[in-house]
Amino acid sequence: MSAPLAPKLIVTASPHVRSQDSTPVIMWNVVGSLAPVIVAAAWFFGVSALLVVTAAALGALFTEHSIGRGGSLADGSAVITGLLLGLSLPPGLPLWMAFLGGAFGIGFGKLVWGGLGQNVFNPALVGRAFLQAAFPVAITTWPTVGGPFWALKGDLFAFPFTHPNPDAITSATPLGLLKFEGTGTNLAHLVMGNTGGSIGETAALVILAGGAFLAWKRYLNWRIPIGILLTVAVLSTVLHLLDAKRPDALFMLFSGGLMLGAVYMATDMVTSPVTNLGRWVFAAGIGVLVVVIRIWGGLPEGVMYAILFMNALVPFINRATQPRVFGTGRQGAA
């Protein structure tokens, strides 16, 4: 009997249908949500910001393309790493350093672990930690906010392996001012983002909006940013009440890289816990470490090390927060 039936049948294991979200869709949505952050950075720091972010992204893509598995560029995760690294750098950083940071972050933060999904530490922060160790002066040279859009800040085009020429006008970050000079910063400036600092960390409201979009699409887990911000707010309020010279909660929330870190870096699915309870633990740990480093540490800012440290604990947090299996424990005594 010749029936109008398909000549070739697909045979896959069940389930035969799946939800719409795929890993590349998630990744490219994160990339898209970073666009407003980059635009805001360009508004505050001019073309220099765009150049540094582009250099970091190109560095990340270069390494992913050179040693990543075939086609792994298309999943979008290398772009995220590059953009996030770029946004965490000062706007006047020589471009070759930004490129190197991106390349190092992908190479040693991700690919040596086995590629996407295998790394323990956030690759963007690995790149930044590398730059911090290798170029401690350049990465803490903060050009002033504002100025003409096309004016280049710092010594962007310094030749590799030469000392950049620090002739640009610089200013301290709010956290640096507080730590080293004991002066505060106007809260309105902090919230709006027109203060010194890294390219993408000053526009707190834009970052929050991007995070809200991703949380609504369920492309990031809201527990992590909320947990971090709450912990920082509560802890710094307590400390502020004990000693009024210490900064209050609003200053802590809106200064430095906390927003960028809480919304975009700590929420990296690969390097954060898989259980919801674990996510709360992870977030609280980051919040505590950020406050401890900022208040008592030698560095003015501690978001990067706080996240990297908690990244290292994720496997243990996961193990300690395994869900209760159905029919065991509470009701499964029979």
């Binding site: 039936l5 294991a13 389930p15 249908v17 799946r18 939800s19 795929s22 869900p323 499964g332």
Partner: protein, 441 residues
């Protein structure tokens, strides 16, 4: 605690509107019937016919082999033409009986005595159900009579009837309840009598309001039967999920439902039992939903067991040019077919034809530990970690993570953004563990 529902689970597109309003129709007898001797959980039936034998509709071709086994009956009158290996829906070649259907036969059952159910002892009811070859019609095909006679050390207080039908596309239970509520309720009456159970709850997902209304309308005044509307969520029809939705109790890990005093039966099985005691009809035909966007004329059909998929799909107008995957069962737990000569079995709830773009034939990405599978798993496992272990064959670690509690519902793989075939990995791991155990014994 979670009245009418359970925690976690997923919401696949239901796609039930393709067939949910189509009345059940009877499919004509095909030219040939193929009856595998293994259609149920437990021992396969023992062959009891020879090539050349003439069989009437309802005659046994295989007999029950032990307690957890049932006979197989001819679903049409005809002549046995071959006994040998034939494509089975599980993908293997299985011992089967081929019957050339007699075109001129009246296809009536042999006259038989149908004993009145009220006069029968419990053992006699159980025996009659086994002799009729009744198995769970929800897909697993576990012999129904075994569940009617639970171990005596457990008291059963509630009979739960599973009318959730949470698999996408499938509407056979829905149509059964909407069109034959009296038959369903009569089956319940016989079962409550046989099991000496005073209480019965029929769980039906809220997306079948006409079925709920029909059952409520037909409820007998003298029995404690209630109809419980359930949250529309997959896998609401899984036995443990249904029990939690109805009783609020979790069946302990590794234990049978009877340990919490309940027995669950599928709506279709209940209707089949009713037929055994109404007309003496053994389980030789069943209601099958034939559906999917890759099929020209979706339908709910009464299909003789043993009808080949090719004949069934042809009767439904054939498939569309983009049809790519033919699934026996629903798309969440069903089995994709490589050979359309495979027959409809007693446990075949539906046949779904997917178009190419609806299939999972896409790239698999690495696990990004997003945790969605943990929030989907209805038994609260960690599929992400289990998947990592499965790929490196760390089966003993998987046992510690309660692999045994995985019922292969596929919710984890459904939500996985990286398209990792988690359910497949877990099934393979279970098989590997079983083999290792058999090798050690």
């Amino acid at each position: 605690m979670f009245a009418g529902g359970f925690r976690h689970g997923v919401h696949p597109r239901e796609e039930k509107e393709l067939t949910s309003r189509l009345p059940i129709r009877r499919m004509p007898f095909p030219d040939e019937i193929v009856l595998p001797l293994r259609q149920h959980a437990g021992n396969p039936a023992k062959l009891c016919v020879r090539v050349g034998d003439h069989v009437e509709r309802g005659d046994p071709v295989g007999l029950a082999d032990g307690w957890v086994s049932v006979p197989i009956h001819a679903s049409a009158a005809g002549t046995v033409t071959e006994i040998g290996l034939w494509p089975h829906p599980d993908g293997s070649m299985a011992p089967s009986v081929r019957i050339a259907v007699d075109r001129y036969a009246a296809q009536v059952l042999r006259p038989r005595m149908v004993p009145h159910w009220e006069g029968l002892s419990v053992d006699e009811v159980v025996r009659a159900v086994q002799d009729a070859g009744v198995v769970g019609l929800g897909g697993a095909a576990f012999p129904t009579h075994v569940k009617l006679a639970p171990p005596s050390d457990h008291a059963v207080h509630t009979l739960i009837i599973n009318g959730a039908e949470c698999e996408p596309y499938l509407t056979s239970d829905h149509r059964t309840m909407a069109e034959y509520p009296e038959r369903v309720l009569f089956g319940i009456r016989v079962m409550m009598h046989a099991m000496q159970v005073g209480k019965c709850v029929v769980g039906v997902e809220r997306n079948k309001p006409d079925a709920i209304a029909a059952l409520v309308q037909a409820l007998p005044p003298d029995l404690d039967i209630s109809i419980l509307p359930l949250t529309v969520k997959y896998p609401q029809g899984a036995e443990k999920m249904l029990i939690q939705a109805v009783t609020g109790v979790e069946v302990p890990s590794g234990k049978l439902p009877v340990t919490v005093g309940v027995v669950v039966q599928n709506v279709g099985s209940v209707a089949a039992i009713a037929e055994v005691f109404e007309t003496g009809l053994p389980l030789i035909e069943r209601i099958v939903t034939v559906s999917g966007h890759g099929l020209r004329r979706p339908a709910n059909l009464i299909v003789p067991v043993g009808t080949k998929l090719r004949d069934l799909l042809t009767f439904c107008g054939g498939v569309t040019p983009d049809a790519a995957e033919v699934i026996i069962g629903g798309p969440m737990m069903g089995q994709a077919q490589a050979n359309l000569d495979a027959p409809v079995l007693k446990g075949t709830t539906g046949v779904v034809v997917l178009e190419k773009h609806e299939t999972r034939l896409e790239k698999v990405y690495p696990c990004i530990h997003c945790g969605r599978c943990l929030e989907a798993c209805p038994v609260f496992l960690n599929p992400s970690l289990l998947g990592d272990f499965a790929r490196v064959a760390r089966y003993d670690d998987m046992v510690d993570l309660h692999l045994a509690d995985c019922m292969l519902c596929g919710s984890c793989a459904y939500v996985c953004p990286s398209n990792i075939p988690l359910a497949q990995l877990f099934q393979a791991s279970k098989v590997a563990l079983r083999r290792a155990k058999a090798g050690a014994a």
